[in-house]
C-alpha cells in the first residue's frame, strides 16, 4: 500500500465503519454467487445451486465477524488503546509523570513567553495601515531621534522621499475635565500626524495640517480610545466638550481608533494635541528655537519605489544645507531610517539583541528539558525491559512498541505543553496589566495570539518526538530472548557519555544562575540602604509642574515659596525644600556645559565639563539631608538682582579647582557667558543612576534659575499616610487646581532600581528554571543508573555491603557531576558578578552569605533530585531479585 492508500484506508476505517461492513457483506455474497455459478454450470438448477452454495459456505455472520477482527480494529481504536495504556502507565508512576510534565511545561512555557514578547514588540507592526512602508528618522551613533521643530519643517518641506512627514513629542500635562486636575500624558503631534499615518477617527474628527495657524492656534484634543473608554465611559457626547489642559481651554474633537496608542511601542498616551500648542502644553520656546530639539521623533511613509537608503541620502542632503545655513547650531548630518515603534534603533537594537538572547536561552532550556526527559525515558525503558521483551516475544511488532513509546512521549508532551501554555498565558496577562514604572504610562501588550499558540503547539509535538526518540534505539536493539534470560538490558559500559557532559553543563549553568541571582539580590538589598548623597527614609516627595496649573513667569517662584511656607507649618514636618528634579527621580536630568573662568571660546567642544544641574530652594539641603561640606547655603536673597552664585558637589570642586576649600569663592562660566561664583560645596551623591561613577553636579538658587518643575521634599517622622493627607489638604488650600501626586522618597527610587530589580527577578526566574532542569537531569541519571544496576546492587547487598556503599555505587556518578558542576558554576558566577555590577549597584561576590547560600542551594537540589532513586536503591531486595530470574 502506498502512503496515501494507507491513509485513505485508515481514514476510511476511522469514519466508514458501516461502509466497510457493507463491503464485507458484498464480498461474501459475491463469493457465494460465484460458487452457485459453478454449481449451475455443472447442471444444477439456479435456485438449488444458490441454496447449496449458501449451505456450503456456512455462517456468513460468523466469518464476517472473524474477518473484521482479522482486519484489525480501526486505526482510531488502536490509538485510543495506546493512549489508554500510556495513561495507565503514567498513572502508575505519578512521580515520574509530575517531574516529566513540569520539566516540559517549563521548557514550552519559557519558549511561549519569549516568543510572545518577540511577537508583540518585534514581529507585530504598529497598528496603522501599511506599516511596512512606515519609517522614522534617527541620527548619530546613539540612534537618537530628537529634532528641533524648525529643522523638522525644513526636512518636511524639502524632502522628496516621504509621502508626508509627521513628528511628535511627549508631554506630561495637567488635564481638568471638571474639577479633577490630573496629570496626564499627551503626544503633541504635528497637524498632519493622523493623515500621514492614514488613520480615520473612531469618533468625531482629527485635526489636520490646515488647522495649524501659528502658536496656540489649534486648541484641540483627540482622546485615545482607551482613555475615552476608561474616563468617559464610552460617552459619545464628549465630542465638543471644552476641557482645561494646563489651565488652557481645549476642545475635544475626536477619539482615535481602538488599538491605536500612538507610535511608540509600550507607551500609552491619554490624548493627542497639536504640536503648535506646545507652548501651552509645557515646552515654551521649542517652536521658535532651532537649537532646541523638542520633537521626540519624525516619521512617515516612504513614497512607492523609494528605498530607505535613498530616503536617508535625501534627508542628509537637507542636513548639509542646514549646516551651511546655520553653522553655529547644526551638526554634520548622519540620518538613517529605522522602524518607529521601538524608537528606531535606539531601543530597537538592544531590544532585538535582548530577545535574540532570550530566545536562544529558551531554546536551550527546552533542549535541556528534552535531553533530561530522554534519559528519564531511557531509564523507564530499561525498567520495563522485561515487559517490552515479553510483548515482543508474544508477537508485538517493533513498530507497535515504538508507536506505544511515542504515544507515551506525546501524551507527556501534550500535558506539559498544556501546563506550559497555561502558565505562560497567566504570566503574560500579569505582565500586560503590570505598570513597571507607575509614573509613566508604560505597559507591555504581550497578549498571546494564534501565532504564539501555533509555535507552542509545534514545539510541544517536536519535543515529544525528540525525547521519545531517545529510548527507541535501545528498544530496537532489544533481543527479547536475551532480556528474558538476563533480566536487564546490557549496560552500555561505564564510559563518560555526552549525556553526562550535558548534565554537567546544566548543573554548572544552574549554579552560575543561582550565584548571580544571590549576588544581585544582596546587592539590591544593600543599595536600598546605601548613601545616595541624600536621605530617602522619612521623607515624602510632592511632585508637580506649576505650568499645569497655569502659573508662569514670576508667579512660579511666588507660588513655590507659598508652598514651602505652608508645608513647613504642618505639625511634625521638620524641613521642606524644593528642587526642580529629584536626583535619581525619574530618569531625567539636565546637564549644562561649564567653562573655566578665563575661557573666551564658549563652543561646546571647549567645555571643561557638563555637570548635572538642579535648581533648589534654600531649604532643600536640610530637607534632603545633603550635607554642606564648606561655604554657605543659598538664601532667599540670592535672586535675580544679586550676583549669580552656585553650589557645587565635591567631585566638581576637586576636578575644577583641586579641592573643596580651594573652590570657595572661585568663578566659572556657562555657555551664555554668565559667571557663577561658587559659594558652597556639598557632598557627592548619585544623580542619574545608582551604578554611575562619581558624577559632577551643581545647584543653582531657585530664584536665579526658575523652573516650573517642582518637587517638594518634606522631612518628617510622622506616618507617611497621615502626612500625605495633611499635605494634600494644605496644597488644595493654596490652589485646588494643582495636580500634585505625593510619594515617599523611597518609592521614587523605583525607576533607578528598575534595571536592578528586573535583573534580579530575571536571574531568579532563570535560576529556578535551571534548578528544576538540574533536578530532573540528576533524577534521570540517578534513576537510570539505579535501575540498570539493580542486580549488581542486590548482589552487593547479599554479600553484605553497607547502605553507604550501595548508595555510593548507585549515585556516585550523579554526585560527582553535581559537585564538579556546582564548583564550576560557582566560580563562573563569581566572575560574572563583575558584569552584574554594571546593572546592580554594590553587587559583590565577596560575600560569605552568597557563597554559603549557593553551596546550600546546590546541596538541597542534589538531595531532592536523588531522594527517590536513593530510596529505590535502598529498597532493592536481593532475595526478590534472585527469585525474579
Amino acid at each position: 500500500m502506498t502512503f496515501f492508500e494507507t491513509l485513505r484506508f485508515r481514514l476510511g476505517s476511522l469514519f466508514g465503519r458501516e461502509r466497510i461492513d457493507a463491503e464485507m457483506d458484498d464480498e461474501l455474497r459475491s463469493h457465494i454467487e460465484h460458487r452457485a455459478d459453478d454449481l449451475e454450470r455443472n447442471g444444477m438448477a439456479r435456485r438449488e445451486a444458490a441454496r447449496r452454495a449458501r449451505l456450503e459456505f456456512g455462517g456468513v455472520a460468523k466469518f464476517a465477524e472473524q474477518s473484521k477482527e482479522a482486519a484489525g480494529g480501526t486505526f482510531f481504536e488502536s490509538v485510543i488503546g495506546d493512549l489508554r495504556y500510556a495513561a495507565r502507565l503514567l498513572k502508575k508512576s505519578p512521580g515520574f509523570t509530575i517531574v516529566a510534565v513540569l520539566t516540559l511545561a517549563l521548557g514550552i512555557g519559557a519558549n511561549a513567553v519569549v516568543f510572545s514578547v518577540m511577537n508583540a514588540i518585534i514581529l507585530r507592526p504598529l497598528n496603522v495601515p501599511d506599516p511596512q512602508s512606515l519609517y522614522s528618522l534617527e541620527w548619530g551613533s546613539g540612534h537618537g531621534g530628537m529634532e528641533s521643530y524648525l529643522d523638522y519643517l525644513d526636512i518636511r518641506d524639502r524632502n522628496t522621499s516621504f509621502d508626508g512627514l509627521a513628528g511628535y513629542n511627549i508631554d506630561a500635562v495637567g488635564l481638568d475635565t471638571g474639577d479633577n486636575p490630573t496629570r496626564c500624558w499627551a503626544l503633541s503631534v504635528t497637524g498632519n500626524y493622523f493623515d500621514v499615518l492614514r488613520l480615520q477617527p473612531y469618533l468625531g474628527r482629527f485635526f489636520h495640517a490646515s488647522d495649524e495657524r501659528g502658536p496656540n492656534s489649534a486648541p484641540y484634543v483627540v482622546l485615545t480610545y482607551s482613555y475615552w473608554h476608561t474616563h468617559f465611559a464610552d460617552d459619545p457626547s464628549v465630542i465638543g466638550r471644552v476641557v482645561q489642559v494646563n489651565k488652557h481651554p481645549f476642545t475635544i474633537i475626536g477619539v482615535a481608533p481602538q488599538g491605536f496608542n500612538g507610535t511608540l511601542m509600550m507607551f500609552n498616551p491619554d490624548f493627542f494635541a497639536p504640536f503648535v500648542d506646545e507652548e501651552q502644553l509645557g515646552d515654551p520656546g521649542v517652536l521658535a528655537n532651532r537649537g532646541v530639539r523638542g520633537m521626540f521623533q519624525l516619521l512617515g511613509h516612504l513614497k512607492p519605489g523609494v528605498t530607505p537608503q535613498q530616503a536617508a541620502a535625501d534627508v542628509n542632503a537637507i542636513g548639509e544645507y542646514l549646516v551651511k545655513s546655520y553653522p553655529k547650531i547644526e551638526e554634520a548630518p548622519s540620518f538613517e531610517l529605522a522602524r518607529p515603534s521601538l524608537y528606531g534603533d535606539f531601543l530597537g537594537q538592544p531590544a532585538r539583541a535582548f530577545i535574540a538572547g532570550l530566545s536562544l536561552l529558551a531554546g536551550l532550556i527546552l533542549l535541556a528539558a528534552c535531553a533530561n526527559l530522554g534519559s528519564l525515558f531511557a531509564a523507564r525503558a530499561s525498567e520495563r525491559a522485561r515487559e517490552l521483551a515479553l510483548r515482543m516475544a508474544l508477537g508485538s511488532s517493533h513498530a507497535r512498541i515504538v508507536r506505544q513509546i511515542f504515544t507515551e512521549a506525546l501524551l507527556i508532551s501534550a500535558l506539559g505543553g498544556a501546563v506550559g501554555i497555561w502558565g505562560s498565558v497567566m504570566l503574560l496577562s500579569a505582565m500586560t496589566v503590570w505598570r513597571p514604572i507607575p509614573r509613566f504610562p508604560l505597559s507591555m501588550p504581550f497578549t498571546p495570539d494564534s501565532r504564539v499558540y501555533l509555535v507552542a503547539l509545534v514545539l510541544t509535538i517536536v519535543s515529544g518526538f525528540l525525547f521519545g526518540a531517545v529510548p527507541v534505539k535501545q528498544v530496537l536493539r532489544t533481543d527479547p530472548y536475551e532480556i528474558v534470560k538476563a533480566g536487564s538490558l546490557r549496560s552500555p559500559g561505564r564510559k563518560f557519555t555526552v549525556r553526562d557532559l550535558l548534565l554537567g553543563v546544566q548543573i554548572a549553568l544552574c549554579a552560575l544562575l543561582v550565584t548571580s541571582s544571590m549576588v544581585a539580590l544582596r546587592g539590591l538589598i544593600r543599595s536600598m540602604h546605601s548613601n545616595f548623597g541624600f536621605e530617602t527614609r522619612n521623607a515624602l516627595v510632592m511632585d508637580t509642574i506649576l505650568d499645569m496649573a497655569g502659573y508662569s513667569g514670576d508667579a512660579v517662584p511666588v507660588m513655590q515659596k507659598k508652598m514651602i511656607e505652608a508645608t513647613e507649618k504642618i505639625p511634625g514636618v521638620t524641613a521642606a525644600g524644593l528642587i526642580d528634579w529629584v536626583p535619581l527621580g525619574n530618569g531625567s536630568w539636565h546637564d549644562a556645559n561649564i567653562f573655566r573662568d578665563d575661557a573666551t571660546d564658549l563652543r561646546p567642544t571647549n567645555a571643561f565639563d557638563a555637570p548635572v544641574n538642579y535648581s533648589i530652594s534654600p531649604e532643600y539641603l536640610a530637607a534632603a539631608q545633603t550635607s554642606l561640606l564648606a561655604g554657605r547655603n543659598f538664601n532667599w536673597t540670592d535672586d535675580k538682582t544679586s550676583p549669580r552664585v552656585v553650589i557645587v558637589n565635591a567631585e566638581l570642586a576637586r576636578r575644577m579647582f583641586g579641592g573643596t576649600t580651594e573652590a570657595l569663592g572661585k568663578f566659572f562660566k556657562l555657555t551664555d557667558g554668565a559667571r557663577l561664583q561658587v559659594i558652597g560645596v556639598v557632598q557627592d551623591g548619585k544623580y542619574k543612576n545608582l551604578t554611575e561613577t562619581p558624577q559632577t553636579a551643581m545647584f543653582y538658587p531657585l530664584l536665579q534659575a526658575p523652573s516650573s518643575e517642582t518637587a517638594m521634599v518634606v522631612r518628617s517622622n510622622r506616618d507617611p499616610q497621615e502626612l500625605t493627607t495633611a499635605m494634600r489638604e494644605t496644597i488644595r488650600g493654596l490652589d485646588p487646581g494643582l495636580p500634585a501626586p505625593i510619594h515617599t522618597w523611597s518609592e521614587t527610587l523605583g525607576l533607578p532600581l528598575f534595571p536592578a530589580r528586573i535583573a534580579t527577578l530575571a536571574l531568579g526566574v532563570l535560576g529556578a528554571m535551571g534548578a528544576v532542569l538540574s533536578i530532573t537531569g540528576i533524577f534521570g541519571l540517578a534513576a537510570y543508573s539505579v535501575s540498570k544496576r539493580k542486580r549488581e546492587l542486590g548482589i552487593r547487598m547479599a554479600l553484605g555491603a553497607q547502605r553507604k556503599e550501595v548508595l555510593e555505587a548507585a549515585l556516585g556518578r550523579a554526585f560527582k557531576l553535581l559537585a564538579f558542576g556546582s564548583a564550576a558554576g560557582l566560580i563562573l558566577g563569581l566572575l560574572a558578578s563583575r558584569v552584574l555590577s554594571v546593572i546592580v549597584y554594590q553587587a559583590t561576590p565577596r560575600d560569605p552569605l552568597v557563597l554559603a547560600g549557593v553551596v546550600l542551594a546546590m546541596m538541597l537540589l542534589g538531595l531532592v533530585a536523588t531522594w527517590i532513586p536513593a530510596q529505590r536503591a535502598m529498597r532493592v531486595d536481593p532475595v526478590m531479585l534472585m527469585r525474579e530470574d
Binding site: 463469493h31 460465484h34 474477518s67 482486519a71 484489525g72
Partner: protein, 113 residues
Amino acid sequence: MGDQAQLLPGTLDLLILRAVSLGPLHGYGILLRIAQISGNALMVEQGALYPGLFRLVRQGLLKANWGTSENNRKAKFYELTVAGRKRLREETDNWNRLATAIGAALASQPEEA
C-alpha cells in the same frame, strides 16, 4: 473431492500468497486456485478464507480492488504487494527448509537414530 490433507496451522497464509502470486484473484478464485495448484489435495473451508485475507491486507502483504469477474459479477480482487512478494519468498524458503528437515528426520532408519 477425494484424498484431502489437513492444513497445518499457519500454512493458510502461505497458500493464499502463493495463489495470488500468479495474478489478481477474487476470494472464490483463490479457493479454486489453491485446489488446482495442490492437485485438489488441499481444500480450504470457504468462510475461513476471509479472515486470512483481511489479516494479510492489514499486514500490507496484499492489496484489494473491486472489479468485475469472468462471470460478469462484482468481486473484490486481491494481488500481492511488494512486501507480500518478499514475504512469500521468505516463507517459501523457510517451508522448504523445514519440510526437508522433517522429511529427512522421518526418513531416517532406526539404526541411525
